[in-house]
């Protein structure tokens, strides 16, 4: 089903602090913008697939949202894979469309941890509180330290990811954090939870983003401008909590990418631009390795000298990613991938024809890959 479904529309709210906005209100704005973007009405939508708000899980949230949007979808509900869910839902939408379960799917996400509660991010699990084992940054830092110990990965490699994201975000008028960062400034920062510094960590952000998925044939019939074909997708679930994970420096991202590459009929050398889930800098480095852009343990060599910056061999997160555009878990990366394939990105990669997008969740527990084309 390579390329038989497309992303026909994209929409978002502002990113940053949106006090006083419920997630339903933010969803409504993003969905309206996505429908306007592809020029169709709400009555065309017959599937509503939702990643629930991370900061406030709620039963039947997908149905409550459908009511708030005035939609009675054939296919609908919430899918929980943490930060992998948005990309996975786009894949499920394509599969449901391919098998005649629905025709036009909206995939949407909204959350307001910046203005609302972010308690869900800091709590300890099980016995963790007895050891002071709090917060998500420490869990990713535990993986980063192992990677540094096994492969000699230096702080400069982590820093290169932050520097690239911040350069791209600074150029993005809609980014939440538009302050560039030099490698020297990064290295001079005090540790937060070592080996991480503050700028290894994603932003906390309010906002929503949505996409409209339909068949390429339907998009042509509706006269959609610049539909972006979904060439491939895949998933992989590492599952084990990092305490129990036998190998900390490899994840099922490799399996996810291999599935997507096979479906799309392309490989790493064919990719012109990447949008990698960068909740923490180590995630981008390990995704480069697990996806096959460099050998395991060699990410530090790969990211040197601006290689992942706009103008480099593989521009990554050209709108700033979770580190600079918005801490939203993943949909902004899909939207930037669509803009790159339309040739409409703020930092457009000239002639880009293939974009890979990663979404991942938990502490590298879940992984999902999309490959977009033109």
């Amino acid at each position: 089903m390579r390329g038989r479904c497309v992303i026909a529309g994209i929409g978002q709210t502002a990113f940053g602090a949106l006090p006083g906005r419920s997630t339903f209100s933010m969803h409504a704005e993003a969905v309206r913008n996505a429908l306007d973007d592809c020029g169709i009405g709400k009555d065309e939508v017959d599937a509503l697939l939702v990643k629930g708000p991370t900061s406030a899980p709620e039963l039947m949230y997908g149905q409550k949202l459908a009511e708030a949007l005035g939609i009675q979808p054939r296919v609908g509900g919430v899918w929980d894979q943490g930060g992998a869910a948005n990309a996975s839902l786009i894949a499920y939408a394509a599969m449901a469309i391919e098998h005649c379960q629905c025709e036009v799917a909206v995939v949407t996400f909204a959350d307001n941890p910046k203005s609302g509660s972010r308690a869900a991010y800091g709590k300890a699990k099980g016995d963790g509180a007895l050891f002071g084992w709090f917060g998500t940054p420490a869990q990713y830092a535990m993986i980063a330290r192992r990677h540094m110990g096994e492969f000699g990965t230096a702080a400069e490699a982590l820093g290169a990811v932050a520097v690239a994201a911040r350069r791209h975000g600074a150029a993005n008028p809609r980014a939440q954090l538009r302050k560039p960062l030099s490698l020297d400034e990064y290295l001079a920062q005090p540790p937060l939870v070592s080996p991480f510094r503050r700028d290894d960590c994603a932003l906390v952000s309010d906002g929503a983003a949505a996409v409209v998925v339909m068949s390429a044939r339907r998009a042509a019939a509706l006269g959609v401008d610049k539909p972006v074909p979904i060439l491939g997708f895949g998933q992989g679930q590492t599952s084990w909590d990092i305490i129990q994970r036998p190998v900390l420096t490899e994840t099922m991202a490799a399996q996810s990418a291999a599935t997507a590459f096979e479906m799309a009929g392309v490989g790493p050398p064919d990719i012109d631009v990447a949008q990698f889930y960068d909740c923490f800098t180590i995630t981008v480095l390990m995704t480069l390795e697990d996806y096959g852009f460099c050998a395991k343990g060699r990410c530090g060599d790969f990211v040197r000298d601006g290689a992942i910056e706009h103008g480099g061999v593989l521009p990554v997160n050209t709108a700033g990613g979770l580190l600079s555009e918005t801490g939203m878990p993943g949909m902004q990366l899909v939207i930037e991938g669509v803009r790159q394939m339309r040739g409409e990105a703020n930092l457009q990669v000239p002639g880009a024809r293939t974009c890979i997008v990663s979404n991942q969740g938990g502490v590298m527990h879940t992984h999902s890959t999309l490959i977009l084309g033109v």
């Binding site: 509180a129 050891f131 002071g132 110990g149 070592s194 305490i243 900390l248």
Partner: protein, 138 residues
């Protein structure tokens, strides 16, 4: 096991062992050994296990050093070290490395030694770099 043990049962057994100064883990008839306590073997999914006391020898898988307190109870301990530790017998657990002069200078795979200590009255398994006798802090 003739009687199926609940999650509460296996956690109580784990705590009782710590209170006696030992770190115990479950071992299945299929030979799989694990922590944290579970109702059944994560490999064969049967509930045919017994408890074993760990030797106390372990190695360092990875560690982080907190320079910011995410909870007030740890504010006066900064910087402190949280680690993933693998027992010689196989099970892994989250713990603290205590008594390290420079926690940034630890090395992955370095040998560790169990030391059961009290945390706000609750016995917890911590680790040191040196081979020192196991003791229960009071």
């Amino acid at each position: 096991m003739t009687t199926r043990q609940s999650q509460d049962d296996v956690e109580a057994a784990y705590r009782a062992s710590l209170a006696r100064g030992h770190l115990s883990f479950q071992r299945c008839a299929c030979t799989e050994a694990w922590l944290p306590p579970r109702e059944q073997c994560p490999r064969c999914l049967r509930a045919d296990f017994r408890w074993e006391e760990a030797s106390g020898r372990a190695r360092l898988i990875s560690w982080v050093v907190y320079h910011r307190a995410y909870d007030d109870a740890f504010a006066d301990r900064l910087p402190y070290c949280v680690a993933v530790v693998e027992l010689d017998e196989g099970p892994r657990l989250v713990s603290n490395i205590v008594g390290a002069a420079d926690p940034e200078a630890l090395q992955i795979e370095q040998p560790l030694q169990l030391r059961v200590e009290l945390e706000r009255g609750i016995p917890v398994p911590r680790f040191t770099q040196q081979d020192i006798p196991e003791s229960t802090a009071s």
